[in-house]
Amino acid sequence: MFLSLPEEVYNTMRWKLPWFFKHGKSQDLWLDTELVVVDLELTGLDAAEHEVVSVAWVMIKRGKIVLAESRYMLNRSVQHLSQSPVFHGIDETQLEQGHDIEVIMSELAKALEGRVLVCHNILLDWSFIKKAFLEMGIVTRPTQMLDTLKIEKSRLLRQHQAVIQDQLRLPVCRARYGLPNYQNHNALSDALATAELLLAQVNHFDSEKHIKLSALL
């Protein structure tokens, strides 16, 4: 269960960087960048073994969250929910009203085209997306990837605070910026929560006008 140990993952990231980290448009201004904040609900943590239950994303354009362009899609082709409804609360009857994973992934691929992918703990979500894209022959790549967890971690480290894993959980990070608690938990509310966290993080750096994407990587 390699992915359940993000601490280690980050330590080894330097030589595992995918191509786009080196070639992306990191000199672009943050305000000129369109970002897609994604959250997945999963049946487990291992991309090789587990499945995607639902995908949600929220769009950020010119520093604003465009609520109308949010998407939340359930995967009706899930094979084994097993114990995961305990976490996401989605059962089979709900799934029946969803979409096939191919539809979902091609929608997501369209959204990601030419945009920056943002997640809270991106390696987990990306491992699932990457696998799905690969299986379906989708070649879309986000231009960049941002991780709100990583941004938060380096911010805390810069302040010379010892970082315990628990402090990097999404609600804990949000609380640090005075953002409200979410009552409903699903992929969409988590995606929006992550998007809001990113806006707060960006604006705590400096005036967002001058922020370059590279500062967030």
Partner: protein, 617 residues
């Protein structure tokens, strides 16, 4: 609940939006529309200018954070927190946004573009009305200083147009008449070294000169009304009216803080204002010919107060108004008693204590009053005052002012007495500070003259001043104050009380306002300030070294804030005990301010104990 597919609903944002007025009154489709057409930004000091001054116009709704809306001149129009809108004036008028934001604490803002705002306006009448109304209110409040301030709240100095017409006391009556003719005024002030000595009016010239065939070459001082009533420029118009109606005078000299005459306010100046309700009511109270008529008039007081409290900005004025009405009731009842039972056998004076004296009476306040009579009263003459006290207090009850549960009323013989007897009572309490004595001090040290012979009241004040500063008394009082704690716990949490039906509440009066009153009283006593009103005392304390300017401002603000909340709780009445409030009904900013206020009171309490009791708790 969550829908799937193309139109994903953001449940939490939707919940938030649909709770906001006016959307909470509209079909749920309106909130869906709002959310699906909004964008969200995180607003900080850095990016607020860019976010607000784009080409497109938006309606802004604050989701988190605190922002001050500041107008072009740099004045704060309003403070915005969760659930507040801004930007609508520009949407309604099409003009550019004039104001800007000062970010107190950054947060999330929902932005609804003009085109969607217009859609909701067209679709829902209530939505349109909400923002048109809010816009009107904003316009009013931004010009509040100039226009919408209630006339009775206006300062005398705004009303007074002419500069002071004055003449020396040695001038002749003829000279005085000529000055009045040239200036075109109906009265003249007699001054010596810029000090007001007297007033001469048209009527004096007729009654005291022509009708009495007095030689007009006599000095004007021989016909003036010496030591006339006057008013300070910073007093309210309401106070001037009150004074003129009470003493049946038509000319009232206006002085500045240094007591230099500035001008005259006449009854005609005020005449055009007379059609307003509170003044009419006070005027009618002073003229009522029977107790029945008084009772009928008194029934209008709660109605008047409720309509009035919505229009006044400075809420402390409501207390002043109610005390003024009670004063009028008491003096008219005294006159009615004299009509029925003959004149008083010796000189006497009505005084009031507690909330009436502090001019912070509310509709729930009870009576606290007493009678002073002159020292040479004969034992047989006391019976008259016993029945006077009984008459006035029982009729006050019928007029809606509750009897005092502690029996501090002139119907009780312990609340009647000669100047010397009153002095002895105070002396007792101050030298033997038992808990009961401390309680008495709290009530009796806030006192105010109402009607009758004012010199008796002044004699009492002089004698009390001579008792001197008892260290022990102040220490006991400071200790007593510190036993009453503010409802704030160790970690800045409210400590709530529970009512019988288990709803939680905070008592704003006994655990907030009353502590400030107690604190201010002890400092005022220490400095020999004879005023009873807490705000007036605080103002007077600025000239003494007991409290720093900053502490005084803090206490003033706390008092105002708490009083405002308290009066609001009385008007809105959430099924809680009187003067109590459930902090959950407050906005997050008000909760924050309330905690801050309690915190300041706590600090002031500690400082007071340290100062007067030397920390000996």
């Amino acid at each position: 609940m969550t829908q799937t597919g193309m139109t994903a609903e953001l449940q939490d944002v939707l919940n938030f939006v649909s709770k906001q007025s006016p959307l909470n009154e509209l079909p749920s489709a309106s909130a869906h529309y709002f959310v699906n057409h909004s964008e969200m930004v995180y607003l900080t000091a850095h990016n607020q200018a860019d976010a607000l001054q784009g080409e497109e116009k938006y309606l802004y709704l604050v989701r988190t954070g605190i922002f001050d809306l500041v107008d072009v001149s740099g004045e704060v129009i309003t403070r915005l927190s969760t659930g507040d809108y801004f930007g609508y004036p520009s949407l309604l008028t099409g003009e550019e946004i004039q104001s800007h934001l000062e970010v107190q604490s950054p947060g999330l803002i929902l932005m609804l573009p003009q085109i969607s705002f217009d859609f909701l306006r067209r679709e829902y009448k209530v939505f349109e009305q909400h923002f048109v109304k809010a816009h009107k209110k904003r316009l009013l409040s931004s010009h509040y200083q100039e226009r919408s301030k209630g006339w009775s709240e206006r300062k005398i100095s705004k009303l007074m147009t002419k500069s002071a017409v004055v003449i020396e006391p040695s001038a002749t009556i003829v000279e005085a008449a000529k000055v009045m003719q040239v200036e075109g005024v109906s009265s003249v002030m007699i001054t010596e070294n810029e000090r007001l000595k007297g007033v001469v009016t048209d009527r004096d010239l007729r009654n005291r000169v022509l009708a009495s065939e007095l030689n007009p070459e006599m000095p004007v001082s021989s016909i003036m009304t010496p030591e006339p009533k006057f008013i300070f420029e910073n007093n309210r118009v309401f106070s001037a009216l009150h004074l003129m109606l009470k003493h049946n005078i038509h000319h009232l000299p206006v002085l500045n803080e240094e007591r230099v005459p500035l001008g005259m306010v006449t009854s005609t100046d005020l005449l055009r204002l007379q059609n307003s309700d509170p003044v009419q009511l006070i005027g009618q109270l002073y003229k009522a010919s029977s107790t029945q008529e008084l009772k009928l008039l008194a029934k209008e007081i709660p109605v008047l107060l409720r309509s009035f409290s919505n229009t006044v900005e400075d809420i402390s004025f409501v207390g002043t108004l109610l005390s003024g009405l009670t004063d009028a009731l008491m003096s008219r009842l005294t006159e009615l008693f004299a009509k029925q039972h003959g004149k008083a056998p010796c000189s006497f004076s009505w005084i009031c204590f507690g909330s009436q004296a502090r001019e912070e009476q509310t509709l729930d306040s009870d009576q606290d009053n007493g009678l002073i009579f002159c020292n040479d009263i004969k034992p047989a003459e006391r019976a008259y005052f016993a029945s006077l006290g009984e008459f006035v207090t029982s009729h006050l009850v019928e007029c809606g002012i509750r009897a005092c549960p502690g029996n501090i009323m002139a119907s009780n013989e312990h609340c009647r007495g000669t100047v010397d007897e009153w002095t002895a009572r105070f002396h007792n309490w101050m030298t033997a500070p038992t808990p009961q004595a401390m309680l008495n001090c709290k009530i009796f040290f806030d006192r105010r003259y109402i009607c009758g012979d004012q010199s008796l009241y002044q004699d009492l004040n002089v004698q009390l001043g001579e008792i001197g500063q008892q260290e022990l008394f102040f220490a006991a009082m400071a200790t007593d104050i510190s036993t009453n704690s503010v409802p704030i716990g160790l970690f800045q949490q409210f400590k709530l009380q529970r009512s019988k039906d288990k709803s939680k509440y905070l008592d704003l009066k006994t655990r907030g306002v009353a502590i400030i009153n107690d604190l201010v009283r002890i400092y005022a006593l220490k400095c020999g300030i004879s005023k009873a009103n807490t705000q007036a005392r605080l103002k007077a304390l600025k000239d003494h070294m007991q409290l720093s300017k900053r502490d005084i401002y803090n206490l003033q603000d706390c008092w105002r804030f708490l009083t405002q909340l308290r009066l609001r709780s009385q008007i809105e009445q959430h099924q809680l005990p009187a003067n109590c409030i459930n902090p959950e009904t407050l906005s997050s900013m008000e909760r924050h301010q309330l905690k801050e206020a309690f915190h300041l009171i706590k600090q002031a309490q500690q400082a007071c104990v340290f100062k007067f009791a030397r920390g000996s708790l």
